[in-house]
């Protein structure tokens, strides 16, 4: 997986200046957040479901080796092929080989973060195979060479006029209306031919059931269902953490996911398939790509519980200002801040664990109870060990030393009072005073007042 190209503060600074982004984000995150709160509020056993979701994923990760083998066996028994991919290159090669062996120079794809993570489309293009995104938002991004900024609503940063202009340039010459219905119709006409012509479909997966080898996807548009049924050959790329042990476990997740994600009681389309029927071919690619490294970290591994609902993005006060591109990864928001550094190596994304005010809103809504603030703290410590500059280390060491004795602390307070007029223009305090006043230090500290009392 590609590491962020720049640090979060630098990217955020740029994104914060994007008016369209700020407006869209506020409106969309508010709407989804309220919808989620309503449908979650009507569930008397919501907290029990969250506990169950967490427990199931914890069990999965504790015995992942066994469950993966069980899943492989079940898929094979149902007539599917299983491929193991250590990294993006291996996974991409499997998909390219399957497509080539069927003489396909075009594949249709459903929305899948995992295939974005491995940059499958670019890899296929190198083999002369064109991948067409069939999710409406993903299609928009693909046509414009743009990339996703939200797990659930990838084109959240675009507006309908931009989309109309884009369609007029690409798939629907002459289109004048920017009515969402007309835009959807234009995409539908374009995609229908792609669906009917494609020999190979590519999907991600929301869940894979170890017990039965069943794969489950949930979606809103129905394009996924077309990708998985119309082409004769289907390749499903699945992160190894996407398994659940038993078919009955889906009961828990199919309640947690739509309510947390779109704020719906149930999503419009849920598809399940087990193996392949006669005349059809199913390939399942089990992807590691850094996941086993995350698994080895006993605090950080809970990031692998994630079911990609995006509830944490919608409540995050940082994400809802900066948007997803500031995180420099296909996994934005609070979950991205803990997942990306673990997948690409903390030294390659050291600013991400600090891209949070630690407000805790994410943990409150997470359907599988990932304690994101605790993982952030854990990763901050790792980031400091890996990357902190000498000046920061020395400064923090000095402050800790100063706090370790009352007389030192008192002396530092007196010094700060003297240095105050100059210090405000320097170093960290200058970053503060650029946009905020700093309350002047009072003439007397509390300690001084208490002694005189």
């Amino acid at each position: 997986m590609r590491a962020p190209a720049e640090s979060f503060p630098a990217a955020a600074r740029r994104e914060l200046a994007n008016v369209q982004l700020r407006t869209n984000l506020r409106k969309a995150t508010d709407t989804i957040r309220d919808k989620r709160a309503r449908v979650v509020g009507e569930m008397p056993d919501w907290e029990d479901l969250r506990d169950a979701g967490r427990a199931i994923k914890a069990d999965l990760l504790a015995h992942l080796d066994d469950y993966l083998l069980q899943f492989e066996e079940a898929v094979q028994a149902a007539g599917g092929h299983v491929h193991w991919a250590r990294d993006a290159a291996e996974a991409n090669a499997v998909v390219a080989d399957v497509a080539r062996s069927h003489g396909a120079d075009e594949v249709v794809k459903m929305k899948s973060l995992t295939t974005d993570e491995i940059e499958l489309n670019d890899a296929l293009a190198e083999h002369g195979i064109r991948a067409t995104e069939t999710d409406f938002a993903e299609l928009i991004l693909q046509l414009d060479g743009d990339w996703s900024s939200h797990i659930l609503v990838p084109a959240i940063h675009r507006n309908r006029t931009e989309i109309r202009d884009l369609f007029a340039r690409t798939i629907a010459p002459g289109i004048v209306s920017d009515d969402p219905r007309d835009l959807a119709e234009a995409a539908r006409l374009y995609l229908r031919e792609k669906f009917l012509a494609a020999r190979v479909g590519v999907s991600g997966a929301n869940f894979g059931v170890a017990e039965t080898g069943t794969i489950c996807i949930v979606e809103s548009e129905g394009n996924g269902r077309m990708c998985t049924t119309l082409p004769r050959v289907l390749v499903t790329v699945l992160g190894i953490e996407k398994l659940v042990p038993t078919f009955a476990d889906l009961e828990v997740f199919l309640q947690l996911l739509p309510r947390s994600s779109t704020g719906e009681r149930m999503n419009p389309y849920t598809s399940l398939w087990t193996g392949a029927t006669e005349g059809q071919e199913l390939h399942v690619v089990l992807l590691d790509n850094g996941r086993t490294r995350v698994l080895a970290d006993d605090v950080g591994r809970q990031a692998l519980h994630c079911i990609r609902c995006s509830a944490c993005l919608n409540v995050c006060p940082v994400y809802s200002r900066t948007g997803g591109h500031a995180y420099g990864s296909v996994y934005p928001g609070p979950i991205g801040a803990i997942l990306t550094p673990q997948l690409v190596g903390i030294e390659n994304a050291a600013s991400l664990p600090f891209a949070s005010s630690l407000c805790g809103a994410c943990y409150e809504v997470c359907p599988v109870k990932i304690d994101i603030p605790s993982v952030l703290l854990h990763l901050r410590t790792r980031a400091v060990s890996a990357r902190a500059g000498r000046a920061e280390r020395a400064g923090m060491g000095l402050v800790a030393w100063m706090f370790s004795g009352r007389r030192r602390f008192g002396a530092a307070q007196r010094l700060a009072r003297l240095a105050q007029p100059f210090a405000l223009r320097l170093g960290p305090l200058a970053a503060w005073t650029r946009t905020r006043d700093l309350k002047p230090m009072p003439k007397e500290t509390f300690g001084e007042w208490w002694r005189k009392r």
């Binding site: 805790g360 706090f403 009352r406 230090m441 509390f446």
Partner: protein, 223 residues
């Protein structure tokens, strides 16, 4: 009951008025308040900034300084939360939860004839979980008119070193918080944490707003 005040490093240095007010409220209710003079910082800044070894040492120091008291009361939900929820020192309380949940007091005999809005700081909501304690106290303050923010539970953007390391994002969050505060028509914005009030107060002051940030303890101490 032997009550100790944990004034916090920020409170000691920048908000002595909140510490004095805390003492005043507790004494008015008939408690003897001690101020263990060796106290400095709970270690939260180091903990939140990735220096957990330094934080652990400061937390250990806190334990020994405050050993032997029945209750440790602080005008900061965030520092109280660090010691209680992260380091497991059970008898540390934020002031409002101490008054309402531990002492069962809601009317502290305060008078503050002003229009006030309350910002629920993140750690008071989600770490110390003070619940409606601040509201119960504010509702019993004579003359006080409480007006709600449209987003009372949204972070002000402080977040400790976040406010420096991610100054732009922090400021964007603050701008929205200040707009929300000003839209209420309040004269004062109150909260349980000096650090968040430093941020909100700094934003309001930079905007030359007529609204002032004030610690809840100061309102409760007013008569």
């Amino acid at each position: 009951m032997r009550v100790a005040l944990f004034v916090t490093c920020i409170g000691d240095t920048l908000f002595p008025e909140a510490g004095r007010a805390t003492v005043s409220v507790l004494e008015r209710l008939g408690h003897d308040v001690a101020f263990p003079s060796e106290q400095t910082c709970c270690g939260q800044m180091h903990l939140n900034s990735g220096y957990s070894a330094e934080a652990d040492r400061l937390a250990a120091r806190f334990r020994s300084v405050f050993d032997g008291f029945d209750a440790i009361v602080s005008p900061s939900s965030s520092c109280a939360g660090t010691m209680r929820e992260h380091y497991g020192v059970e008898n540390v309380y934020e002031l409002s939860e101490f008054l309402v949940h531990r002492l069962g007091v809601e009317d502290v005999g305060a008078r503050f004839p002003h229009r006030v809005t309350y910002h629920a700081t993140c750690h008071s909501l989600r770490v110390t979980k003070v619940g409606d304690a601040p509201h119960r106290l504010l509702q019993r303050v004579d003359g006080l008119e409480l007006v709600e923010l449209s987003r009372p539970r949204e972070c002000c953007g402080f977040g400790g070193t976040f406010s420096i390391k991610n100054a732009d994002t922090s400021s964007a969050m603050l701008a929205d918080k200040c707009a929300d505060v000003e839209a209420t028509g309040a004269e004062y914005c109150t909260a349980l944490d000096g650090s968040c009030l430093l941020q909100i107060g700094g934003g309001l002051s930079r905007g030359r707003s007529g609204v002032r940030a004030i610690h809840l303890a100061e309102i409760l101490a007013s008569t």
